[in-house]
Point group: C2
Chain length 148, copies 2
């Protein structure tokens, strides 16, 4: 849906964020993976963890994570193995192939950022970052009814 009153800063930030998000998602898809699967690999890159921990870190429901890991595992990009200490748990780990994919993705995201922010100097990019960091987005509950 196109912007109706981009003269409001809130709308401007929302719409630019959405378009930026679309460009980044396209970059994440460079290896033919779903962006969500790539985000999962990114989470796993620093180290292995249980599915429950991974779901919590990504703020998604554990049941949604199942399909993601099925796909990643079938493509050889991540592995699940039982935790010997507690056989209910799965330890999830990124594979070498998964890490290699992340390398390609990182290059594509870098390219996307050069396109997105290429008209800004390094200093201006740093300034934009610091201003965005000061936007207050701590989700106080502002649900006002809505929908029908």
């Amino acid at each position: 849906m196109a912007a109706p009153s981009t003269d409001r800063l809130g709308f401007l930030l929302s719409f630019r964020g959405e378009l930026t998000s679309a460009r980044i998602r396209a970059a994440l898809g460079v290896a033919g993976l779903h962006p969500r699967n790539v985000m999962t690999l990114m989470r796993l890159a620093p180290g292995a963890m249980s599915q429950r921990e991974l779901a919590a870190a990504m703020e998604i429901d554990p049941s949604q994570l199942v399909a993601v890991l099925n796909e990643l595992e079938s493509e050889g990009l991540a592995e699940r193995r039982r935790d010997p200490a507690d056989r209910r748990r799965h330890i999830v780990e990124i594979t070498e192939a998964g890490a290699a994919v992340l390398g390609r993705v990182d290059a594509a995201v870098g390219e996307a950022e050069r396109e997105l922010f290429g008209d800004l100097t390094e200093a201006e990019q740093a300034l934009l970052r610091s201003l965005l960091d000061r936007v207050v987005v701590d989700a106080a509950d502002h649900d006002c009814g809505g929908a029908e």
Copy 2:
């Protein structure tokens, strides 16, 4: 899904945009309407137009607009009438009640923006706006496959 590498400016802008969008949508819902319906009223505020024009302006499919207008009309916030010059067309118009709703919404959005950007001075808000305006988001086609 939470941020995996907010150290990249593209991710930061995406995630701040998403959270800002959520806060703005909550404000749009202040009158109990679906945000999409409020956006439609905003488009109609400057003047009446046909459904086809309205759909084009909002960049949505005409068929999706039908349900929105049904709801707005049943709530007395907008009206459809046949164009006498071309009886295929519907002229869509906001009502006084619809304009009144927009007044309440505008106040709520103003409040949301004060929360979001209250830590920034007026000058900093203007700076943020000008930097966002220079982010390049003209959708060149970057579809790289993705999904499965």
